[in-house]
Amino acid sequence: MIKYAANALYAKCHALFGKHLTGTDYAQLLACKSVGDVAACLKGKTVYADSLANIHAQTVRRQQLELYLRSHLFYEFAALCRYEVSLGQGFYRYYVLRGEVDQLLTCLRLLNSEHQDDYLLIMPVYFQRYASLDLFKLAKATDAAEVLKATQGSEYYHILQPFLEKNPPLPDMGAIELELLSFLWKKARGMLGRASGKDTRSDGVRYLTVGADMKAIAIAYRMKCYLRSNANQIRAKANFGAGRLSSKQTEDLLDAPTADEFLRRLAATPYGKELAKQEFLYIEDSAARVAYAHALRTFRYSTNAGVTTLAYLDLAENELKNITHIIEGIRYSAPPDEIRKQLIGAA
């Protein structure tokens, strides 16, 4: 039974991926002149047609459209989780945790930039039903203490307490992000540890390390580039322990005197080959492209249903990001070529 469910999940993921946007679809989206046109295009012939069936394409707003697309992804993944037996309920829980961490970070970032009112507008109401956080309370929060109070009763309270209980006007986002991502990483490892099947456990951990490494590398580069931080300062903000870089490679990177040297040393790591294939625009972009390439490779060649599902989740998120880039680029009248440069895997 377990085997059949895993096979079904595996097939389902591949079937869903087959319906993703193609190069032609992206070209059509890039040719759109307004957000309404993008909505009409997505509504017309893509996998999002059902989710967007009831929207009014010509009057829909950018943020509204993005919310609809996000909810589509969420429901699609929730439906997939029904098949996932080998990882148990933990797999579904991990996905929800990712969403919760994302909401917390978004709320805190907006608070830091004194745009806390904007959180209400982008808050995904559909997610409230599944989350352990009270998103409405988060939306009402006007300072750090209220954000902390909104997380009372959840696992995040104790994580955020050291950073928010004194109600700082500008919470340390770097440290908070590090703690929350470490928490997520531990949860992922725990979920994989409980998974049935040694392959699932090891393949899953191997898969997730790349994502963790990319996040850490991006943070480290930024700190090198703009803050000229040293190794200890970077270690306090970036979680290198979760990844597959060896301690020597990590030391090497963190000891780089300049950002350019950091990049040169990065080229010598296992990620160097992948990084060499692309044009460097900015570090987050390169990191995202490496992560995407890894997800795609894993998705195509892995025979493990749980790991394939994780990879599919990242690919679907990537597509959503691409569409968001297109929507925002069109909204702000960027030339299509410029928008295309931001897209990952849209050839």
Partner: protein, 634 residues
């Protein structure tokens, strides 16, 4: 049994007589006009006739009126020679104005109806609002906005519960949105608009009205009924006007269409001063009638000539076959008609197609069913394929007599063989596999040779002696092919009428001639460029071409093995039917026969057609002719 000979008719006359000439010669349907400019030297000063059709505007007018009234005008037979008089035109214009005015009035009413329906749709959303609209719109210190809010955003409104300046009244909801109105004090209106805009509130502009929304809806409903009634009255009036003048309108319409078509034929003419020059094609066997029609006409003279060779190949084609073969013109037409200088292969197709079908299908009872079906299709449904099916059915019956098959029963016809002195049926299908395959091959050899003979005749007719003699489908090709067949037969141990040295020599000589046939063809045509420019290239090309010819002989011949194969298929299918019927279950046998008839008819006809079109036609027939398309004015 040929391509009907065409005569090119060249006519000269006074321009004023052109219409009369066209009306006369286009009545009986044996005249096809041709562009006269192609048949006259430009130096003579004749120029194409460029005129605007004066009748098309009137025809368009009638079509318009008919469309407005929802009626289709009818075309009837007209008396030639009549032209519309000014009174009729004036009457038509007057009628047009009457119908147009009704149409304009109807359009206004339809617009009003549409507005009412839109307003009704809008107000339907706010029917939950139990307050007179005039009191809302007349507020001095409160701003109101009607619109819809996505349900997701509506749930976020709870967070603004503490805001005393915002009030949203939901009126109705759909699957995704809540319709309602929000109210805010005038001084807070901008902020309220901002908040609701960020919640994706979409404002709807509803038409101003008096009363509560449900009262407004009732009033609109009443208006809609009245408007619909008025529109239906106007529609009735428009139809009455049309119906009262139907005869006159249809007559006028028919006349105008006839004159318009006649006018369109004028564009084939060229003119010089007040003279015209016109050309067309007439079948040679209709020339006498044509002459009788035109001879009596003043101011018009003509001559009928055989076309020049370079014009002849573009002449239209009309096949002329005896009644027996005529149904197969449809099959030949599917591939393409022969040009006027080619042979008509219809009789050949008629015989070979029927023969091949009969051999492959081979069952007396099933063939009889096909025969009946074909006759029914031909006489009752007027289907061209009906006759072909009937012939095929007849041939299948003959084939069935040879195989002794009657609805799949292999022994029911034994009494016939005994009656004619034979101990049993001539061919046992499932026991004569090799024989059937050899039969197929033999048919193939004969067919290929026949197609080559046709090609030789056609090539000579088209003054391509080189191809006729030395081409791969010419005389030399035939010799090589025949030599190869004799060699194969000898190799397999069959008795052959010639010695191996003879057929060997023939094969060798013919291969060499094939190899150099481009040079020989050019020499025969007395062309000065017969020498190849590059010997090496020529040798290489010739080698591969000869290789291709040899391969095509082989493949075309072997393709006919399917004739034998399908005999076996048919037999095998009936075996399967009887195996399923076990103890002779009649229902299974009947159903099985029906199934086999349907399937085998389809397969066999497709295969026979394939053999005709590909294996045979590829050697001797191009089908580049164009059909004779005479004009027939009603």
């Amino acid at each position: 049994m040929a391509v009907s000979q065409m005569k090119l008719v060249r006519t000269v006359g006074f321009l004023s007589k052109l219409n009369q000439f066209l009306a006369t010669c286009c009545i009986d349907g044996f005249f096809e006009p041709d562009n006269a400019a192609r048949h006259i030297s430009p130096s003579l000063g004749f120029a194409p006739l460029t005129e605007d059709n004066p009748y098309s505007a009137l025809i368009h007018k009638i079509d318009e009126l008919a469309e407005i009234s929802g009626i289709t005008p009818e075309r009837r037979r007209v008396r030639a020679g009549l032209v519309p008089d000014p009174q009729s035109e004036a009457w038509l214009l007057d009628m047009g104005e009457r119908i147009a005015s009704i149409h304009d009035e109807r359009r206004d009413l339809a617009e009003q109806l549409s507005l009412c329906q839109n307003a009704m749709e809008q107000y339907n959303h706010f029917v939950g609002l139990d307050t007179p609209l005039e009191s809302i719109f007349s507020c001095q210190y409160i701003k109101v906005r009607f619109g819809r809010l996505p349900k997701e955003s509506a749930s976020k409104l709870a967070l603004y519960a503490d805001n005393p300046y915002l009030l949203f009244i939901p009126c109705s909801e759909s699957e995704t949105d809540e319709y309602g109105a929000y109210f805010a004090p005038r001084h807070y209106a901008d902020e309220a608009d901002r908040i609701f805009a960020s919640l994706f509130f979409e404002r709807l502009w509803i038409p101003s009205a008096v009363g509560r929304p449900r009262d407004v809806l009732a009033h609109l409903d009443q208006n809609i009924s009245i408007l619909k009634e008025q529109i239906s009255v106007l529609d009735k009036r428009s139809r009455e006007i049309w119906n009262s003048e139907t005869e006159r309108l249809n007559a006028m319409y028919s006349q105008l269409c006839y004159l318009s078509e006649l006018f369109e034929l004028r564009r084939y003419a060229v003119v010089h001063g007040d003279s015209f020059f016109y050309t067309g094609w007439v079948p040679a066997d209709r020339m006498r009638r044509f002459t009788r029609l035109i001879d009596g006409m003043d101011g018009v003279t003509f001559e009928a000539v055989d076309p020049d060779p370079d014009v002849e190949k573009d002449a239209p084609v009309r096949l002329k076959n005896i009644r027996l073969f005529r149904p197969f013109e449809y099959l030949v037409g599917m591939f393409g008609l022969p040009s006027s200088t080619d042979l008509d292969v219809t009789p050949f197709v008629a015989i070979t197609y029927t023969l091949i079908f009969g051999m492959m299908f081979g069952d007396v009872g099933q063939g009889f069913v096909l025969l009946l079906a074909g006759l029914f299709a031909y006489f009752k449904m007027r289907s061209k394929m009906g006759a072909i099916i009937a012939y095929s059915g007849g041939a299948a019956m003959l084939g069935g007599l040879v195989y002794g098959s009657f609805f799949g029963y292999e022994n029911k016809l034994d009494f016939i063989y005994h009656a004619i002195g034979l101990p049993e049926k001539p061919v046992h299908v499932m026991e004569s596999i090799n024989g059937l395959m050899l039969m197929g091959l033999a048919i193939g050899i004969v067919m290929v040779l026949c197609s080559m003979i046709i090609n030789v005749i056609t090539s000579f007719k088209n003054h391509r002696a080189g191809d006729a003699l030395f081409g791969p489908n010419g005389f030399v090709g035939m010799v090589f092919y025949a030599s190869a067949v004799v060699f194969a037969a000898d190799f397999l141990g069959a008795p052959v009428p010639v010695s191996s040295s003879l057929y060997g020599t023939c094969a060798l000589v013919s291969v060499i001639l094939l190899f150099i046939h481009p040079i020989l063809s050019k020499l025969i045509a007395k062309r000065k460029d017969w020498k190849p420019k590059n010997i090496g290239e020529f040798l290489m090309e010739s080698f591969f071409e000869v290789f291709e010819y040899v391969l095509s002989y082989f493949s075309n011949t072997v393709s006919f093995l399917r004739v034998g194969a399908f005999v076996l298929v048919h037999g095998g299918m009936m075996l399967a039917v009887f195996a399923m019927a076990k103890d002779g279950n009649i229902v299974v046998i009947v159903l099985g026969n029906i199934f086999v008839i349907a399937l085998e008819t389809l397969f066999t006809s497709i295969q026979a057609m394939r053999l005709e079109f590909y294996e045979i036609f590829s050697r001797c027939y191009k089908g580049e002719g164009r059909a004779f398309a005479p004009v027939r004015l009603k």
